[in-house]
Amino acid sequence: MSDKKGKGVSRRDFIKIAGASGIAAGALGPAFLFPERAAAQQKTLKILQWAHFVPAYDKWFNETFAKQWGEKHNTTVTVDNINLTELNTRAASEAQAKKGHDIFMFLSPPAAYEKQVIDMSHVYQEVEKKHGKKIDLAHKSTFNPKTKKYFAFSDSYAPDPGNWHKDWWTEAGFPNGPDTWEDLRVGAKKIKDKTGIPCGLGFSQELDTSMALRALLWSFGGAEQDEAGNVTINSKGTIEALKFAKALYQETETPIVFTWTPPSNNQAMLGGQVSYVANAISITRQAEREKNPLNSKIMISRALKGPVRRIAAEHVMNCYVIWDFAENKDGAQQFLIDYIDAFHDGFVAGQFYNFPCFPKTVPNLKQEIAKDDRADPANKYAVLGDVLDWATNVGYPGYATAAIDEAFKTWVIPTMFAKVARGDSSPEDAAAAAEKEYKRIFDRWK
């Protein structure tokens, strides 16, 4: 006999509860068992990009822009940020598995992936309607002239200026830092002879070195290819650049530069262990953020002038691709189009690290960077105002093709320079060996 007033449950109550539970389970069960179906109402957009050198940019992009865009478009936006050295490996695995993110951001032109990404012409057209033409650097970095396809969309690039220690260079007779490659050799030698502190221009198999040595190569008249895409690495200009690199290394550097990874030259400069490096403004921004005592000592300068021209590669080239297997291609394209509308906010959040590929998105760029409250002195970054006069794309004077991409990622240029710098190869032999390697790679991508 049951006690109705007790804490037990009567059969009638049990049936009521069970019935209610059954109805609830009927309604909610599929959502519990098959959450992907329940979420089908709301779209998803998955983005992968690097962990920015300026963390404030990631905070703005992930927590403000992407979040607000998702709310506006009834889309769950997820952003994964990974170390820049892992981007290529991750891209390869996604491309082979045909599964992964909708939008994938590379830091150099990913021409090799052209067949597995959608044409970005539509995105460029929509953005250009609102924000005017893109810069040539973006075009050359994301367009394949043979197939007439934009394999990527570039929103921005990072300049690759010189970073130098004001006190040491002033004492060496260069109060405004080195302006030419010859200044660098002469001044850095004086500093090293006096203090033992070497120059930090990289000769390693990594991103920063690849960009710095391309600047050196072009400044002396050398190039990997011509405008039509023919291999031209074995030239008088290249040999002159190699001769200079050997002198620069032997007179001003130590083997430390063969060990650089992307953050190494930042660490060395911030630790006061090198007098000059070529890098983006991540070094000075880190110094400001961490209140490094060298903050007011580390200065920025334009690309160095060589016997032929003043030129440098962009430090990183933001290249967004949308995989052809992406689940939300329309959303991905719209996201990138809308992202350019908000580019100025990103430019500010990124503390001027990323310069616009659509100049009208930051119409007062020169004025904005000329006065920066974080910087010491406040006009530290003003020198970057004319960056488009000296910044160019990987593959200059031609396009950033798939062959150029493979040569870039397998470090042909740093290896050529390093062998000569160490005296393991003559400039002529190294240029000939590089030519052979370039022709081998170009043949494979014909």
């Binding site: 290529n88 490996t89 891209a91 390869a92 491309a95 082979q96 090799a112 992936y113 052209e114 067949k115 597995q116 990404v117 033992g196 502190i197 070497p198 000769f203 390693s204 198999q205 990594e206 130590t254 083997p255 430390i256 530069v257 063969f258 060990t259 650089w260 990874t261 190494s264 660490q267 060395a268 630790g271 262990q273 798939a402 991409d405 493979e406 990622k409 397998t410 740093p414 290896t415 390093a418 062998k419 160490r422 393991d424 060996a433 052979k436 390697e437 081998r440 790679i441 043949d443 494979r444």
Partner: protein, 304 residues
């Protein structure tokens, strides 16, 4: 089990072919899916023009092999793979023998010493190598810092463990040795404890000293187990890319590049999947030869 008429009758299940197959199938599945399938895929890619991101593939015969044989990086990687493996194995065998002799006799704290020696083997290779990368770092190397502190070297003058070709090669070999010595020590220790005590005792009564006992009695008896340690060590070193990838990434200027690291750099990072596969196939003849030797040694010594 029933015994009758001099014949042993087994319970049916023990001899059931189905049960045997069921017990064998996990191993078969493992080998097929994780070794067989990737190997067949690599062979397939090596004779094609496969690219990462490329939609279609075509048969290109030996073109990939012809192309990589022209590459100086490949020739250097092949040379390095052989040098690293031989040097590492010589050092590992000498050190493992010394350690196994030292650890054979009981002493206070032997358990702790054995545990500490085993640590490098049980720790994930990537973590251990990252630790070594910090120790050998070009800017913050603790070894260099101590040398500067002791006034043995001047500031900013090195040594640059990972920045000079020979030092970088020595560093890679050192880390391989650090990782493999515990493994070989354990194997040799097991072999040494299996030697019947009467044999070295009889040798001692006959007047044999330490060196004679070691080289003319112990080592010959231990040859089969020694061979197993060498062959396993060779495979681990020859096929490893973690140490090189983390420590030097093949640098400076390809001077520490090995076949696995070059295959990865070319095939995955450089997007040339076909060339990467062709490079990796150069490991196969060496590995087949080692596998054959291992099976022979195992058969002779009745290890299996």
């Amino acid at each position: 089990m029933a015994v009758g008429g001099g014949k042993i009758k087994s319970i049916g299940a023990a001899q059931s072919p189905l049960l045997g197959f069921a017990m064998f199938s996990p191993a078969l599945l493992y080998i097929g899916l994780l070794i067989g399938a990737p190997f067949v895929l690599a062979v397939f890619y090596a004779f094609s023009d496969a690219r990462i991101g490329g939609g279609e593939m075509h048969y290109v015969g030996l073109e990939n092999f012809r192309s990589i044989l022209q590459s100086p990086s490949f020739r250097k990687a092949l040379e390095n793979s052989i040098i690293f493996t031989i040097c590492a194995q010589i050092i590992v065998m000498v050190c493992a023998n010394i350690l196994s002799i030292a650890l054979e006799k009981p002493f206070r704290g032997r358990g702790l010493v054995r545990f500490l020696i085993l640590l490098p083997w049980v720790a994930p290779v990537s973590l251990g190598t990252i630790g070594w990368k910090w120790i050998l770092d070009s800017i913050y190397s603790v070894i260099t810092w101590v040398l500067v502190w002791l006034h043995i070297v001047k500031p900013y003058s090195g040594p640059y463990w990972l920045g000079e070709a020979k030092l970088a090669m020595a560093s890679v070999i050192l880390v391989h040795c650090w990782r493999l010595i515990p493994f070989s020590t354990v194997i040799l220790l097991a072999g040494r404890t299996a030697i019947p005590k009467e044999i070295p005792e009889a040798a001692a009564i006959d007047g044999a000293g330490f060196w004679r006992t070691t080289f003319q009695i112990n080592l010959p008896i231990m040859t089969p187990i020694l061979s197993v340690a060498v062959l396993f060590g060779t495979i681990f070193t020859f096929t490893d890319m973690t140490v090189v990838y983390i420590l030097t990434a093949g640098g400076p200027y390809d001077s520490t590049q090995t076949l696995p690291s070059l295959a990865f750099a070319t095939g995955i990072q450089g997007s040339d999947l076909a060339a990467g596969a062709a490079i990796s196939l150069f490991l196969v003849p060496v590995l087949i030869a080692i596998a054959y030797l291992m099976l022979r040694v195992a058969h002779r010594s009745e290890v299996i």
